[in-house]
Every structure is written in C-alpha cells, then in structure tokens.
C-alpha cells in the first residue's frame, strides 16, 4: 500500500520534509507506520506521546488500520497558549 504522510510545524522542521511517501504491507496499523518513521527520524521520537495523528483528515488512534492511498498527518499539539 502507498501511504502519504504529511508533517506540520516543528515536525516538518525536524524531519526536513513536508510530505513523505511510504510503502507498507497490507493491513498495517498506523502505529506500525509510525514506529518505522520514528526509527528513520529519531528526532521525532521524543514527541511520540504528544503528537496528534489523523488519517484522511480525521483524528485517529494509533491502532487505526491503514488502507491504500490514505493520507496520514503527524501533527504537534495545536497552537495552544493559555486561555
């Protein structure tokens, strides 16, 4: 399966790319894709617990199963600042 990965804000800077294309085996979960990316880009690893994950523009859990052509977004927490 071909998966498009989008990176935003500080993660885009850490990885040095805005979009990645990855091939993964059928039926893989988002967590598996993510494990591979964190090995590939160790500077992302420290953010694993706080990152927001979306598939096709919906927030999902890492257990989400991916399908061919999915758009995965890996995002830092949104803009924040105290209320």
């Amino acid at each position: 399966m071909r998966i498009r990965v989008k990176l935003f804000a500080t993660y885009r800077e850490l990885v040095g790319a805005r979009d990645l294309l990855r091939s993964v085996p059928d039926g893989v979960r988002l967590a598996d894709l993510l494990d591979g990316l964190l090995r590939e880009y160790p500077r992302l690893a420290g953010h694993r617990d706080t990152m927001l994950l979306a598939v096709n523009r919906e927030f999902v859990e890492p257990t989400e199963r991916l399908r061919d052509g999915d758009e995965v977004a890996i995002m830092p927490p949104v803009s924040g600042g105290r209320p």
């Binding site: 935003f8 979306a54 949104v78 803009s79």
Partner: protein, 130 residues
C-alpha cells in the same frame, strides 16, 4: 462563515455573517498577536482541508450544544503582525449567556482540535516597534 485566509480579517463582515433578527446578542472574539518580548509577528501554518472540516464541525456542535443561532470562525494564515487579529469567532444567540458561552467554548475547541500552528516570525533587522 468558515474561513482561513491570508488577508486581514474584516470584523464587520464576520459580525454581519451571524446577524439575525431573532438574535438578542452577538459576541465577537478576536485572538490578537500580543507584543511579548522579542515578538514582532507570528507565522500561522495550517493543515487547511482538515482545519476547515474541524471548524465546520465545531460550529455545528456549538449550535446544538448551546442552542445558538449561528457561529462563524475565520482564521489567518501566514504572517500576522503584533496587534493584528489571528482569529475571529462571532456568535449570535437569542440571549447573551449562551452567546458568551458558545464563543468561549468555540475558541477553546479551535485551540484543541483545529490543526493550526503558530511560530515566532523570523526577526528582521529593524529595531523600531510597529
């Protein structure tokens, strides 16, 4: 009105977008770029299609949750100078209590679930403040 735009936010237009004859209250919230030390501007980055979807969803949820009449959200993209509005939320309701509550809730939700990030704009050589 749901929007993400590079140009300045027209607050009259945002307010006008929620006005209705059955409203007794309109609340407008503006998030503005604050002159924190060393800050001259912020750069906003957006995951646009997802941000638009989430903004529409949360405006719909606000209508149901608070019984308000209408809610608009407009966010800037790109560079916003100190003093500029980075986001505007307008809400119309029959009575003021729910208009205030819905506008405050909507802004909390924007900060929680709408994929928009801000970063300090790169410093220029100029020393003067706007």
């Amino acid at each position: 009105m749901i929007g993400i735009q590079r140009r300045r936010i027209d607050i009259e237009a945002v307010v006008a977008s929620v006005r209705r004859d059955d409203a007794g209250a309109v609340v407008l919230f503006l998030g503005t770029v604050r002159a924190d030390p060393g800050i001259r501007a912020l750069d906003y980055e957006v995951y646009r299609p997802m941000a638009l979807t989430k903004m529409k969803e949360l405006a719909g949820r606000a209508r149901t949750k608070f019984g308000i009449l209408d809610l608009s959200i407009v966010h800037r993209l790109g560079r916003v100078p100190v003093g500029g509005d980075s986001v505007a939320i307008a809400c119309a309701a029959a009575h003021r209590r729910e208009a205030f509550e819905a506008a405050a809730w909507a802004m909390d939700e924007v900060k929680r679930i709408v994929p928009i990030w801000k970063a300090e704009a790169a410093q220029t050589k100029r020393r003067g403040r706007r």
